[in-house]
Structure formats: structure tokens, C-alpha cells
């Protein structure tokens, strides 16, 4: 479960639709390298 920013939550009721995109990344401490995921998007009717 990921908390939504209150700014977003407050404005959601003013719109009929939303698209949410998500992705993740990780930075290694030893080599200071960044790895990331592909993204995922989904459309919602509000």
C-alpha cells in the first residue's frame, strides 16, 4: 500500500479520469550504481 500525496488526493474529485504510472529504482551503496524497473500504467475512471 502506497500513500498518495494529499495534494493529489484533494484534486482527484475534480476530474473524471486518471492515469497512474508506477516504476521503482534502487541505488547500490558499494558501486553507486542505479538499477530501475520498466514502468506500468493504468487508466482509472474516477
Amino acid at each position: 500500500m502506497i500513500p498518495l500525496n494529499s495534494k493529489i488526493a484533494a484534486k482527484m474529485d475534480r476530474y473524471n479520469g486518471a492515469i497512474v504510472f508506477v516504476a521503482a529504482s534502487k541505488q547500490t551503496f558499494k558501486k553507486n550504481e542505479t538499477y530501475w524497473t520498466s514502468m506500468f500504467g493504468k487508466e482509472f475512471q474516477l
Partner: protein, 171 residues
């Protein structure tokens, strides 16, 4: 060379650069096609600004082997073809290709996002082993009243400790 500099405009006339004083007013093209083009560009810019405002996403776009000088320009370039009917689509890109994120469900409610991610693959399991960052971009469209903006785009980085993680195993 052409374009505006302070109170002057450079134009190319018959192959030569001519400097004119800047006109007080420009006639804005109001055709349907021009208006659609402007709103598509405004949407692309709004999306790119939001993605680029997250330092980690900006860095990922910057380090990718793609055309374009800076992250912001790349986001615009690689997203413009995915805008359809004045709307972003789920094909728009917030991050360049990476380890497959296999999302089996994503639900949105008033205060949180609930998602299920398959951890079958070793690479994704390793990446989502804390610490990691999660990114959410929310694009709101199709306004209910004209007094609000035509669209809003929010981008947010969420550290792993802000997320309630529930792992389950199939037996």
C-alpha cells in the same frame, strides 16, 4: 539564423538574414489543427516537467543512450507520439526500459495506491529488497468543471519505508 532576440526578430529572406524590429502583436493561428497542436504540446510539457522534477527519474533519462541533449528534451521527444486525442495514454513513458516490473494489479482509492507485484524473477526481487524508491506519476484529466485546469500531472518519489509492504508466497 532566425528567431527573436530582445526587441529584434531575425528572419531569413531570399537566403539572407534580415533583422526587423519585433512586432507589438503576433497573430495567433486559431485553426482547429493549430489549437490541437498547442494543447498536445502543453500536455507533453506538463508531463515532462513533472517527470523531470524527480531527480532520480531525471538522472535515469540523462544516463540513457537516447537521442536528445538533456533529460527534459528526451522526455518530450520520446513521449510526443503517445499522446492521443489530447490525452496522455498508458503508453507514455516515465522511465526508460529497465528490469521487468510485473504488476498483477493496481488499484487507486482516495488516499492510497494498492499494487501487487510479482517477485518471481530474481532481478526484480533483488531490486525491491529495501532500500528502494518507488515512483508514482498521476495524470488527472477530463475535468468536471471548467474552473479547474484542463489537466494536472503529479510526480512523486516514495521511499520504501513509506510503503506498507506485504509479501505473500504461493504454496
Amino acid at each position: 539564423m532566425s528567431g527573436a532576440i530582445e526587441d529584434f526578430v531575425q528572419r531569413i529572406r531570399y537566403g539572407k538574414t534580415v533583422i526587423y524590429s519585433r512586432p507589438a502583436k503576433y497573430k495567433v493561428n486559431q485553426t482547429k489543427q493549430a489549437n490541437e497542436c498547442r494543447s498536445k504540446f502543453a500536455l507533453n510539457v506538463g508531463f515532462a516537467k513533472a517527470v523531470n522534477a524527480v531527480p532520480e527519474l531525471k538522472q535515469i533519462w540523462k544516463s540513457a543512450k537516447l537521442d536528445g541533449v538533456v533529460a527534459y528534451n528526451r522526455i518530450i521527444k520520446y513521449n510526443r507520439n503517445f499522446i492521443a486525442d489530447d490525452k496522455l495514454t498508458i503508453k507514455n513513458i516515465i522511465i526508460t526500459a529497465g528490469i521487468l516490473l510485473s504488476v498483477t494489479s493496481l488499484e487507486l482509492n482516495e488516499s492510497e495506491l494498492v499494487t501487487n507485484i510479482s517477485l518471481q524473477e530474481r532481478k526484480i526481487k533483488s531490486l525491491l529488497n529495501p532500500p528502494f524508491n518507488f515512483y508514482i506519476i498521476v495524470y488527472l484529466f477530463n475535468r468536471k468543471v471548467k474552473s479547474v485546469k484542463a489537466f494536472e500531472v503529479y510526480a512523486e518519489k516514495i521511499a520504501h519505508h513509506q510503503i506498507q509492504l506485504i509479501t505473500s508466497m504461493k504454496l
